[in-house]
Symmetry: C2
Subunit: 354 residues, 2 copies
C-alpha cells in the first residue's frame, strides 16, 4: 500500500474540478472521484463518497467555487452568474440537511460572493476570491485539527496504545482528523503509537475507514468487535480511549456514535482515561445537557443487512440509534483546538469556546 | 412463518436417520438435514449445521445409535459390529474437540454398548437400548432446560423485557434453551415477555438464531447492535439481562461469548439485574477463578469478513477472542436446573452442583 500525502487529500481542487477520495469504495480500492459539476458533487455527497461534517463543509466550499466558474461560461452578466450560483447553493444545501458545517461553509462563500458583487468586483476577480476562500476553509480545518491533535498528544505516554471508535479521522475532516488526529500528532511528535479500532457496527466506519487511514500512514492498528473493547481494557492494554463528538452540550455531556457511552463506562471501570476530541463547531451552548439532545433513529436495515446479506429473519424489528450520550462525569478531558479542557466543563468549555 | 413444535426439534431420530435443523441456513431458510450415515452427521457437526454443546451431545448420541444399526447391516458377528461402532465413535469425537457434551454423550453410549456386549445381549437388543439411551440424552436435556427455565422465570415480572446475548437458546440445546429457555418458560407461565437480542458480532448468533427462534414462537424480539445495549438500559427499558455460560469457575466467575462482560458492567451501572442461566455441565470446580480460564482466540477472518464481503483493509490485523470473563460480583444470580443460586457462589454453587 502506498502511503498518501498527509494530511490526506480528502477533498481537493484540481484543474477546475473538485476531487474526492471515494470513501464508499474504501477499504477495497483507493479511487479518486472527480466532480466537474455541482450536480455530480451533490451526488457524491449524497452517496457518502465524502462524509463527516468537516469534510462535507470543505467539499461544499469548493463546490461553490466551481459553481461560479461554470456559471461564468454560460452567463455574460454578473446577475446571471449570481443567480446560477444561488441555485447551486440551494442544491448543495439539500444534500445532507443535518450537517452543520455544510451550511456554515455555504453561508461563508455565499455571503462573500454577494458582498463582492455588491462591491462591484468583476466575475473574474470573484472567481479567484471564492477559490481562495474555499481553500481557506480546508486549510483552517487542517490547522484546527493539527492544533487539537498537538494538544491532545501531550496526554499520551511515549509508547501508547489508544482505543478509538468510529472514524473521527482524516477522512471525516479536511485530512487530519480529530480523535485519530491526536494519534497522527503523537506520531508526528515522535511517539510510538498503536491503535485498537472498534469496528463500529452497524456501518463499520472503524474497520473500513479508521483502520485504512492508520494503516496508510504506517501506524499499527488492530480491529476488534465493539464487544471486545472491555476485554482489551481489562488486560491493561489500553492507555487511553479517544473518540470524537457529534455534539457537546453546555455541561460537557457528549453525543457521539452509538457505542461511545459504553466505552466511557468501561474505561471508567478500568481506570483508563476517556478523552473526547472535538473542535468548537461541535459545541452547542444552547443545549444544556445530554438529556436535551434528540437521538436520530436510523433505518433498521443497517442492522439487518451487511454486504448485501441479511442477518436477521424477515419481519423481526431492529432498534438502530445513531448516537448515544456520554455523561460528563465519565469524560476525563475534552481535547479542543485551544487546548485540553478539564472539568468542571460548564465553566471551562465556555472559556475556550466563546 | 409457521411455528415449529416446541421444544424445537433441533436433533431428532426419524426412520433410521438423524434429522437436524440446518442452522447454517437460518434465518433465511428452515431446512431439515437428514443424516443417514455417521460420516454425513460428522460433516453436519463440522459445518455447524448443529452447534451448541448440548445440541452436539444429543446429535452424537443419535449418531452412535445410528452407527450400531448400520454396522449390523454389514457385520454378522457382534465383535465386528462393535469394532465398526468404536471406529464411528472416534470419528464423531474428532468433529468438535472442545465440546464437553460431545465426549460425555459418546462415553455414555459407548460404555453402554460395551457393557451390553459384555453381558451377552444380542445385537438387536443393543440397537434398541442404544436408541433409547440416545433419546434419553435428548429428553434429559429438555427436562433440565425446562427446570432451569421455570426456576429462572420466577425472577421476571409479569410484563418483562429481557436483554440477551448470543444464542443460549433452543437451537443450542435439545430444543428448549437456557438463557432463552427462561424466556420460553416465562411465556409458558403466562407472562408477557419481549426481548432485545444483541446481534452478537462477529458470528451474529443473536440476529440469526435467537431472533429466529423467538419470532418462531411468537415472542416479540428486537435486534440491536451490541453497542446499543447501554442506551437501551439507560432508558430503563430492560428488566433483566440473561446470558448463558460456556464455563463457570468455582467462585462463580463466568466465561461466556465475547460481549457478556461489558453487558454485566453496564447492567450493574444501571441497576438492572444480570443473570447467568446455565446447567451443571458448565460448572468446572477445578477452575478456581476466571483468571484460570484460557480464552480461545478465533480466526481474525470472522471480524474481517461477513456475508462474503470484506470490511477491513488487507493486511490489517484483528483480535478476535471467543469469550470474556465476567467476575462474580457483577452477577446477580446464576439460574440452574436445581434452582436460583445467589452469592456467595463458591459455597452455594458447590451445594447445587455436587
Amino acid at each position: 500500500m502506498t502511503a498518501l500525502p498527509f494530511p490526506f487529500p480528502v477533498v481537493t481542487w484540481d484543474d477546475q474540478e473538485v476531487v474526492l477520495i471515494d470513501q464508499t469504495l474504501l477499504p477495497e480500492r483507493l479511487t479518486w472521484r472527480r466532480c466537474g459539476s455541482v450536480t455530480s458533487l451533490c451526488l457524491a455527497i449524497g452517496e457518502l463518497a465524502v462524509r463527516g461534517a468537516p469534510a462535507i463543509g470543505v467539499a461544499a466550499g469548493f463546490g461553490l467555487a466551481l459553481s461560479w466558474r461554470l456559471a461564468m461560461e454560460k452567463e455574460s452578466h454578473i446577475t446571471g452568474i449570481l443567480a446560477r450560483f444561488q441555485k447551486d447553493r440551494e442544491q448543495l444545501s439539500a444534500t445532507r440537511p443535518t450537517a452543520v458545517n455544510l451550511f456554515w461553509a455555504l453561508d461563508r462563500l455565499g455571503s462573500l460572493a454577494e458582498q463582492l458583487v455588491a462591491h462591484g468586483k468583476t466575475a473574474d476577480e470573484i472567481a479567484i476570491d471564492l477559490l481562495v476562500e474555499a481553500q481557506a476553509v480546508l486549510d483552517e480545518d487542517v490547522a484546527m485539527c493539527r492544533s487539537l491533535g498537538m494538544h491532545g498528544q501531550q496526554l499520551l505516554p511515549d509508547f501508547a496504545t489508544v482505543l478509538t471508535h468510529c472514524n473521527a479521522g482524516g477522512l471525516a475532516t479536511g485530512g487530519y482528523g480529530t480523535a485519530v488526529g491526536v494519534v497522527f500528532a503523537a506520531k508526528e511528535s515522535g511517539k510510538t503509537i498503536s491503535v485498537f479500532a472498534d469496528e463500529t457496527r452497524p456501518l463499520l466506519q472503524g474497520s473500513r475507514l479508521t483502520a485504512w487511514e492508520l494503516q496508510n500512514q504506517g501506524i499499527e492498528v488492530t480491529v476488534i468487535c465493539d464487544s471486545a473493547a472491555a476485554s482489551i481494557m481489562s488486560q491493561g492494554k489500553v492507555d487511553a480511549v479517544i473518540t470524537g463528538a457529534d455534539r457537546i452540550a453546555a455541561n460537557g455531556d457528549v453525543a457521539n456514535k452509538i457505542g461511545t457511552y459504553p466505552l466511557a463506562v468501561l474505561a471508567n471501570r478500568h481506570g483508563v482515561p476517556f478523552y473526547v476530541a472535538a473542535p468548537g463547531s461541535t459545541f452547542d451552548a444552547a443545549t444544556k445537557t445530554g438529556d436535551d439532545i434528540a437521538i436520530e433513529l436510523r433505518d433498521p436495515h443497517e442492522v439487518h443487512e451487511f454486504h448485501g446479506g441479511r442477518a436477521t429473519p424477515e419481519g423481526v424489528g431492529a432498534w438502530n440509534p445513531a448516537f448515544d450520550v456520554t455523561p460528563n462525569d465519565l469524560i476525563s478531558a475534552i481535547i479542543t483546538e485551544h487546548g485540553v479542557v478539564r472539568p468542571p466543563y460548564r465553566e471551562n468549555l465556555a472559556k475556550v469556546w466563546k
